[in-house]
Symmetry: C2
Subunit: 615 residues, 2 copies
Amino acid sequence: MNTGELVELGRQLRVDSVRASAAAGSGHPTSSMSAADLMAVLLANHLRYDFARPAHPGNDRFVLSKGHASPLLYAAYKAAGAIDDEELLTFRKLGSRLEGHPTPQRLPWVETATGSLGQGLPVGVGIALAGKRLDRTDYRVWVLCGDSELAEGSVWEAAEAAGFENLDNLVAIVDVNRLGQRGPTRHGHDLDAYARRFQAFGWHTVEVDGHDVDAVDRAYGEALSTRGQPTAILARTLKGKGVEGVEDREGLHGKPLPDADEAIAELGGPRDLRVRVHEPPAARVLHAVDSRSVELPRWDKGEKAATRDAYGKALAALGTARDDVVALDGEVGDSTRAEFFAKEHPDRYVECYIAEQQMVATAVGIAARGWVPYASTFAAFLTRAYDFVRMAAVSGSGINLVGSHAGVAIGQDGPSQMGLEDLAMMRAVHGSTVLYPCDANQTARLVAAMADLDGIRYLRTSRGGSEVIYGPDEEFPIGGSKVLRSSAEDRMTIVAAGVTVPEALAAADALGREGIPVRVIDLYSVKPVDRATLRQAAEETGCLLTVEDHREEGGLGDAVLDAFGDGRPVPRLVRLAVRTMPGSASPAEQLRAAGIDAESITAAGRLLTEQAVVP
Amino acid sequence: MNTGELVELGRQLRVDSVRASAAAGSGHPTSSMSAADLMAVLLANHLRYDFARPAHPGNDRFVLSKGHASPLLYAAYKAAGAIDDEELLTFRKLGSRLEGHPTPQRLPWVETATGSLGQGLPVGVGIALAGKRLDRTDYRVWVLCGDSELAEGSVWEAAEAAGFENLDNLVAIVDVNRLGQRGPTRHGHDLDAYARRFQAFGWHTVEVDGHDVDAVDRAYGEALSTRGQPTAILARTLKGKGVEGVEDREGLHGKPLPDADEAIAELGGPRDLRVRVHEPPAARVLHAVDSRSVELPRWDKGEKAATRDAYGKALAALGTARDDVVALDGEVGDSTRAEFFAKEHPDRYVECYIAEQQMVATAVGIAARGWVPYASTFAAFLTRAYDFVRMAAVSGSGINLVGSHAGVAIGQDGPSQMGLEDLAMMRAVHGSTVLYPCDANQTARLVAAMADLDGIRYLRTSRGGSEVIYGPDEEFPIGGSKVLRSSAEDRMTIVAAGVTVPEALAAADALGREGIPVRVIDLYSVKPVDRATLRQAAEETGCLLTVEDHREEGGLGDAVLDAFGDGRPVPRLVRLAVRTMPGSASPAEQLRAAGIDAESITAAGRLLTEQAVVP
């Protein structure tokens, strides 16, 4: 498009942003208007995208990091012919695909859900990394950022990763409209301030008037011709641009325009320009799932092995069988054992350094390109990325997260390194799967099974070695459990997982010697739980004792309720969990101090079977 | 100390780091050895600190951001005479104050718990901000960082805040030993790479050989004489410095030295130098809790008000009565209503921009200086700071967090903005208090009550207006609840909180009209829960129906189990919660779609009282 057409297209995008927000009675038209010219030039002259084939491997990828500017995105879809005007006006209404913030669950052209600021660029970095290192296809990734969101550390974590990885297929377009939600940003229209920061992280930068379509056009061209570096385009814009009553004014964030009709008239009235978006170049998908069955590592019963070791070995084996598996780690691969995969499949290993948010964002980005990522760090440090995990679920992203060094059982390192909230955090994520194996063979099976699940899948591993209690051919369906001790006379059921399984078995033996037969369930699938087995145990034994190396809230103890939260009779319950703040001590001392070792289970079990209250 | 003495002190700190780790059989001596000279010069020549009076308001503040280098910290404490050699050798043992990673819960000289990397500098920024803006005392804040942790976005979030706030009382000392846990860092010994980054964020930088004690001494002097900017000292060091077999070598992170005796001999053997640390200057504590009782805002029953409005008004009133209350917000103060406080008490308001990790870190920092922070943003975005909240609990920090716009009830903005995991996340934090008010008077009372609690306190507020159902003089003890409907004939109890309370009341009315009398409990204190009232309701009505605008896992439904997890009989339970991924829709449509509105409660209640299973 030429200058005049681009200007007209920008006005159309503004008009449609105003109209959609007016029809909805809510939304962010002023944030859309500032970026309208940036979007117009991109859509008309630079983006390569087939809206009829969003899965086309050659398509450029566009991420609206400032997800609240969704009216602009939908106005662009309309201009590209992807949606019609009628649909545009369903914005923010029940059942509409056009949500307040865009999600790929509803719209095939959206790469990742945004709306939590500072996440679009990190995911864009992940997609760009996939393009360079995995897909090896020269699609470009365009990320439209707000200026307010540059206050998020995650943006600089992403900038650091992108600069270091020389992602010249990545362009960040920053809509510097100087106004955040409640008032001016830290740096206002000081484009240099942002340029200095991006440059320091190894980026090429271009400063531009974001309403000068020719200048914007040249800036995009400069970005595309830049080699060896990602480019940040810092565009000076005005919030509410084009409508005098709202332009560059405070107090108008996230509100429809006071008088939409007048604003539309001021913008020259509605238009119906159509953009012929450039076709993507031919490209092919590189990864393909190999039909070879996975040859998982095997351990003999009675061997001692840590589940984190089993994770690393199983993942390496999975990577041999499946070309689509990618491993990521937060600079602790020697601890999580992701290094086993790195050694065998260095091309499909991404070292994320100590940057857990970017690690999860990279996983989301490469999953969006069809790869199957496994991202690992200490369970404790996955808390760093919780907002990213939450948003990955909003995206419907299929990613595997693995948290090692769970619980007090790690021993001397102390509470900062102990994942004690991870089960609660991951269980609360919509559609998640939460797995907590207790031995090496079980771990290996679950690692393989995770690959084909939907949504967020979390595996919790342990630092120390434990006895292998299952044979290598045992199967562990997701949503299942294993009954490890059982008799017709059982008077109680102990429900354990991970490191508390051997403690539960020892307690069961001790209680058995006292004449109290008890059942033991290994609830390796914490979500979904094995409702049938838990219900049967409740009916047959009358009471459940749960024991977990995790906080009392939100973990195994709460998970069993999922089998009884529908109005059926609930068995008596006792929950043993970590109730104090641990210090440094040996693993055995930690389990004892937390009251989750065999002796504590035995004592609580004794009381429970006597129908006494457990203090 | 002169050059020779400083060199000797550095060697002593190394020897003691090696000895402590050897005695423990674990720990991070090589990470301690790289920073030993940096610590020696600081302790001997620049730190102003009275170890006998850690609460002295004039004390400098030292934060070991690379918390795993705890042997070095404890060796320094020994050199300063704060601990003796015997205690040094208790490192990492059960009951010792000298944990694997330092915490203020155990040691009075530790400002904040570290061990999750990238958190020390953010908290240091908070302390420095307190010094400048609240305490108005010229203590300096020294933060010893690792180089690996500079990959964390939180470090740059902190750098941005510190640069913008001109914190010239803050010095970051970066121990650039070029080796992370599993291998080299991204930038190795390229000090310029780090300097460029800090400079871009407005910092003064000094590059120095971290083993040249005179150069380090000059660098500290330069930092102290720098005005208007924080200073980052980038020190080139060698991991394991001083012992040839480990110096600058990979694969030795987090391990005692292979031969401690030989290493100690190589370092010249044990020494017992004592450092006379400089006295702090005289200073006084500025804040003091006013004895005036708080005049909280009051609403009449039947008025309509949003709990977020009540939060803002109550906090402003609390700030009037108490000089120690400080409000922080993540650039959404117009939404959370923190702006009400900002308008009345601008001197005690900290605008954190869109940087939730730094917001929580700032809260932790100013709480460490004796202030009472209230930090607010959307409940959804507090997930961004979960690792900081977790570590704040490890610190034993007393901070108030307030999450607004909770649940699907926000309406059109969609799932990215809906806090649906916050109750689970906050309940799982050790020692936390979780509050979820349903009306304005209740909110105001809880806001005031939070100030005097220990640990992490979380308040969840709602976007929309709701009817005031409590009088302004009603009291709401922490750990309490309110029985809103009750009769001797009740056949079921509905447990609700926040936006589901009016829905529960409407459902109770509907069921009453059908001849099914039901009890309604407002469980505003989600943690701790009112066990007595829940148990009584269970005994008297036989079954509980919980209804919450939150995910099924970890919230209200799981919280009630806290009253029944000790082996006593458990009532039949039904949990209504948000089980799908919402889109955009009106608040009423959202509640209906999620199955948590009055009609859904009525339908489920009907089934439950018929002893049927609720699908």
